[in-house]
């Protein structure tokens, strides 16, 4: 029999004896499970959101239309059946497609896609599904068939307009695919939305048609990668803070069980059995914590997902199901991360138990002697980490080419961890310094000396508090700065009072009418087009560039923000207006390493165009590269159809936006999305902004709450031991009221000290977020803003969190009867 492994009776008794500690100290068990639960719940919640969103992206990417090139009219008008037939007659392998929205009863809206299965390129998954002859017959003959995303199958089943439905889990949420004839009937159209063609198939298109390469469009997964990475980073922070609680609870339990462990060894329990029993105990906690955490995480995700889905839709135009879709590896991953986190937090405990000095019976507190050595080690490791963070910061700050997001996160992790490791030594040093200056105040001197003694136990929750506070300040500064910059930028970019989007047919009439109105000061015409981007050798890069045509009127020249220009601002505008220059957005400049003075190579309908870059402008929130040029030139060189009209009204007392809006409706039938008030655009943009950061701020607040819990649970867990230390003081004549006050003051000052370190750390984090992470993730840099109010709030938050955490233990101390304090004194 293998000793220590085969003897299950021995193992069982050892395990039960070890576990009896938690029966007598349920607070410690609660603290441990709470830490695990919170860590696992926040992590699992974030991962559930990510997994569900990724499932939606995968389904969207698997959809046939996402992998095919599109052919549309250059003027954005729908295609006719004749357009399609002309191409087919010319031998081009295009297939027609109709796309539109259909409202069902209630609030369900379906994206209806009509296809022609006979001509649809065979590479698509849907085409492959229709390859069976009987399925094809059902599809194209009455009563027809439709495939629908499972999420909407129930709501759509009773709609009499729809053909028989088959739920297809491969379809993106909210999508229905059917025969093109059925789709035209459902959408009440006779035209075609676009034609599709397999990538790589040659087409000789007439000039009024344009081909959009599937490869040139970023997939939803690519577009939203950064969003999910940020979410994951916040989840990871919450996980780490939660594991701090677990680590603190395990350390405390080990410290209090050292005597028990040594007794068990003396009574004949082999060291290996002891380690196995402790590992089994960890496993049991881990499984319980993971189950609780994952179940709560799924609940949390269910709550947050609708908001996240709405944000992703607004930001990236992606459809994410509001229902959770969790693959098998999500559950396994949640379990693995919780257990992995628990074992990494418990590794130290297992290591110490395996190296237990059996002859040190009765020396349970001997570990205190190692404190100074441990602090020195922490400072050394912290210095290395801070050095790495500084080096990465310098490297990333001076790197002009696209920066690596992973390196940015590594820098942030090194900075936070390094500073956390320094915290106990800094606090100890500060307390020692203060203590020496307080000779004449024995109460305060004792309180500071006692706080130093408590540091080994308090260091982990204080480190968790430091992380949470600095994340709060850093993310708060980033979001606050972003809000300020974004709103400012919106004001600069949204110059017009009204934005009108007439059809191409009406465009000239609307312009003429608006120019005839006294109130209208200037019309800012805008156009949009796409052009393939060429490399210096004139070869196609496979990427297309968004082109934005503007009217470089004086009002726009004054307010349009520029980050960098070849010479000066006025010269850049003159070059743009002269027609041989463009402005490019920051995203394109960073991604392609372009600077003012460089040349762009674009393929237009009439040949290659090579404008010079006159300036770089900020373009917050845009995931794509973009170039700006005069709208008139965009129309000439790139056949851009007329777009929106910005109407700037004169600053006269008689100006009336509503009257113009009403007149445009009456005269041209323009309403709804075709005539938008600037205030409405700003409102929508601000709403999208706030919603995007709502989840970040929610996770931030939760992390702070977790850090508060870590502090509370540590205080509760050590309350008994603390009473034994306070009882002698009480016996010496310090009243209970004073003891409570001293305890309160100790914790609040430790938290305030932590907050003082959190301030520079938070500002460092904000710099990393705006100058490194943001640039790597989104391609644009934000100015760093530090808000004194937020700094003050960080310190106040630390004091409030510490005060709240100290409240319950203080209340319990307040209610301890003198008899019990007397017993504690006798035992001390």
């Amino acid at each position: 029999m293998m000793p220590g492994i085969g003897n299950t009776g021995l193992l069982r008794t050892t395990w039960l004896t070890l576990f009896s500690h938690y029966r007598r100290h349920p607070g410690q068990l609660a603290m441990l499970l709470l830490g695990l639960w919170v860590a696992s719940a926040l992590w699992s919640g974030v991962q559930a959101i990510n997994a569900s969103a990724r499932d939606s992206y995968a389904r969207a990417e698997a959809l046939f239309s996402a992998s095919l090139d599109s052919v549309t009219r250059r003027d954005n008008q729908p295609l006719s059946l004749e357009d399609y037939l002309a191409l087919r007659r010319a031998g081009m392998p295009v297939s027609p497609l109709v796309e539109g929205e259909l409202s069902l009863s209630g609030e369900t809206t379906l994206r209806v896609i009509g296809i022609d299965p006979l001509t649809l390129p065979g590479e698509s998954s849907l085409a492959r599904q229709q390859s069976d002859a009987s399925a094809l017959r059902d599809w194209i003959l009455p009563p027809y068939r439709a495939r629908i995303a499972p999420e909407q199958a129930k709501a759509a089943r009773d709609d009499p307009r729809l053909p028989p439905l088959e739920a297809d889990p491969n379809l993106p949420p909210g999508t229905l695919v059917t025969d093109i004839g059925v789709a035209q009937r459902l959408l009440n159209v006779e035209t075609l939305s676009r034609l599709v063609v397999a990538p790589g198939r040659a087409l000789d298109l007439p000039p009024y048609l344009v081909r959009q390469l599937a490869a040139a469009l970023a997939s939803p997964g690519q577009l939203t990668d950064s969003f999910h990475l940020n979410l994951t980073a916040m989840g990871l922070l919450a996980l780490i803070v939660g594991l701090f609680i677990v680590h603190a609870a395990l350390g405390l339990a080990l410290e209090q069980r050292l005597g028990m462990l040594r007794t068990l060894r003396a009574l004949g329990v082999p060291g290996r059995t002891l380690v196995i029993a402790l590992a089994l105990e960890l496993l049991a906690f881990g499984l319980l914590g993971a189950v609780l955490g994952i179940v709560s995480g799924v609940g949390l995700a269910r709550l947050l997902l609708p908001d996240v889905a709405a944000s992703l839709d607004a930001l990236y135009d992606t459809d994410v199901a509001s229902n959770l879709a969790l693959p098998w590896y999500y559950w396994l991953g949640g379990l693995a991360v919780t257990l992995g986190g628990l074992f990494s937090a418990g590794l130290g405990m297992l290591w110490r138990a395996s190296r237990l000095d059996i002859l040190a019976l009765g020396k349970a507190q001997a570990w205190r002697a190692r404190l100074h050595r441990q602090l020195r080690l922490q400072v050394a490791v912290g210095a290395v980490l801070l050095g790495i963070a500084a080096w990465l910061g310098w490297r990333l700050g001076h790197q002009p080419a696209p920066q690596e997001l992973a390196l940015g996160f590594a820098m942030v992790a090194a900075l936070l961890l390094g500073a956390s490791l320094w915290l106990p030594s800094l606090l100890a040093g500060g307390l020692g310094l203060l203590s020496r200056r307080l000779h004449s105040r024995p109460h305060l001197q004792w309180a500071l000396a006692d706080l130093q003694l408590q540091l080994p136990r308090l260091q982990l929750p204080m480190m968790a508090l430091l992380l949470a506070l600095s994340a709060n300040l850093g993310v708060g500064s980033m979001v606050g700065g972003f809000r300020l910059t974004f709103l400012d930028w919106l004001d600069q970019r949204l110059l017009a009072d009204l934005y009108v989007r007439p059809s191409e047919v009406q465009h000239a009439d609307v312009v003429a009418w608006l120019e005839g109105q006294d109130e209208v000061q200037v019309l800012l015409e805008a156009r949009h087009a796409e052009a393939p981007l060429l490399n210096v050798e004139g070869q196609d890069t496979g990427r297309s560039l968004a082109l934005f045509g503007i009217t470089p009127a004086p009002v726009m020249r004054q307010s349009w923000p520029l980050l960098e220009s070849a010479t000066d601002r006025e010269a850049a505008w003159q070059a743009l207006a002269a027609g041989d220059a463009v402005f490019i957005n920051e995203q394109l400049a960073r991604r392609d390493g372009l600077a003012p003075g460089d040349t762009l190579r674009l393929r237009g309908p009439q040949g290659v165009v090579t404008p010079t870059i006159a300036a770089i402008y900020p373009d917050y929130g845009n995931p794509r590269g973009e170039a700006v040029l005069p709208a008139s030139r965009l129309a000439d060189q790139f056949a851009a159809p007329p777009g929106s009209l910005g109407v700037v009204l004169s600053p006269l007392p008689s100006r009336d936006v509503t009257r113009i809006q009403a007149a445009l409706g009456e005269r041209f039938g323009l309403s709804g999305d075709a005539v938008v008030d600037q205030r409405a655009v700003k409102h929508t943009a601000t709403e999208v902004f706030e919603r995007t950061f709502a989840i970040t701020q929610a996770l931030n607040a939760l992390t702070l709450a977790v850090a508060g819990l870590a502090l509370l649970t540590t205080l509760l867990a050590q309350a008994g031991a603390r009473r034994a230390q306070l009882a002698p003081l009480w016996a010496l004549g310090v009243s209970r009221r004073q003891l409570v006050g001293l305890q309160f003051g100790q914790l609040v000052s430790a938290a305030a000290g932590t907050a003082l370190l959190a301030v520079p750390l938070g500002i460092g984090l904000a710099w990393a977020l705006v100058s490194v992470i943001n640039v790597a993730a989104f391609g644009w840099r934000l100015p760093l803003h530090v808000f004194p109010g937020q700094v003050a709030m960080t310190i106040v938050l630390a004091v409030v969190v510490a005060g709240l955490a100290a409240l319950l233990p203080a209340w319990r101390l307040w209610r301890v009867p003198p008899r019990q304090l007397l017993q504690e004194f006798a035992a001390a």
Binding site: L264, R265, A266, G268
Partner: protein, 221 residues
């Protein structure tokens, strides 16, 4: 029962090696009780730790019922402690989170031979009947030491090793505990090696040896 052969133990100190035990030879017969006396720092506890397999000698051997302990692996030594030895410490070393009843049967359960009747008998003999559900912190010092003796005997060991078992008790409690210990040793038939610096404690035992500067000598009357 227990044989110590040329047992030597040295500890390094800043002032040079400290020879705590220097060629100790000792024999303890089954059922015999032996007191090992000596001043503080004379090596009594070290000898007891070596006999219990808690530590290993630099030279020499410890034979328990003819089996060499020094040559055994750590898990085997632990098994031997669990199955054949009973240990009583000056500081009691009870498990604070286990009740009186669970503490008493702890080693018996670890050894896989819990005897409920014997445990009940011990509780009654130790004067702890009715305190089954209490925890160590709710007992007096004398009660705690009696419980520690009960824990050591509940597994019916062949040899009981006691390190200053009354060192933490007042005279009256110490006498009571010692009387009880002797009675229970006789009742269970196990041998006893007791370390003490008190003549009063050592007196009633079968034999008494004195440890001085790492060597053994028969104690005088």
């Amino acid at each position: 029962m227990l044989q110590l052969i040329n047992l030597t133990k040295t500890y390094p100190t800043p002032q040079g090696p400290l020879h705590v035990l220097d060629g100790i030879d000792l024999h303890l017969a089954p059922g015999e009780s032996l007191a090992l006396m000596g001043e503080s720092g004379s090596g009594k506890s070290t000898l007891l730790h070596l006999a219990a397999g808690l530590d290993t000698p630099d030279r020499g051997d410890v034979l328990l019922e003819g089996q060499s302990i020094a040559a055994l692996s750590e898990p085997r030594r632990a098994e031997l402690r669990r199955q054949r030895l009973g240990l009583v410490f000056q500081q009691f070393h009870l498990v604070p989170s286990l009740s009186v009843a669970d503490n008493l049967t702890l080693q018996a359960r670890l050894a896989g031979r819990e005897d409920v009747d014997w445990a009940q008998h011990l509780l009654a003999r130790l004067g702890l009947a009715g305190l089954n559900d209490r925890y160590p912190e709710q007992l007096s010092g004398g009660q705690q030491q009696r419980l520690a003796i009960g824990r050591a005997l509940a597994a019916r060991p062949r040899l009981l090793l006691a390190d200053e078992p009354t060192g933490n008790l007042d005279e009256a409690a110490a006498d009571q505990v010692l009387d009880l210990l002797r009675e229970l040793i006789e009742e269970s038939g196990c041998a006893l090696l007791l370390v003490t610096h008190s003549v009063r404690v050592a007196g009633p035992l079968d034999r008494c040896l004195h440890l001085q500067r790492g060597r053994l000598a028969e104690a005088g009357p």
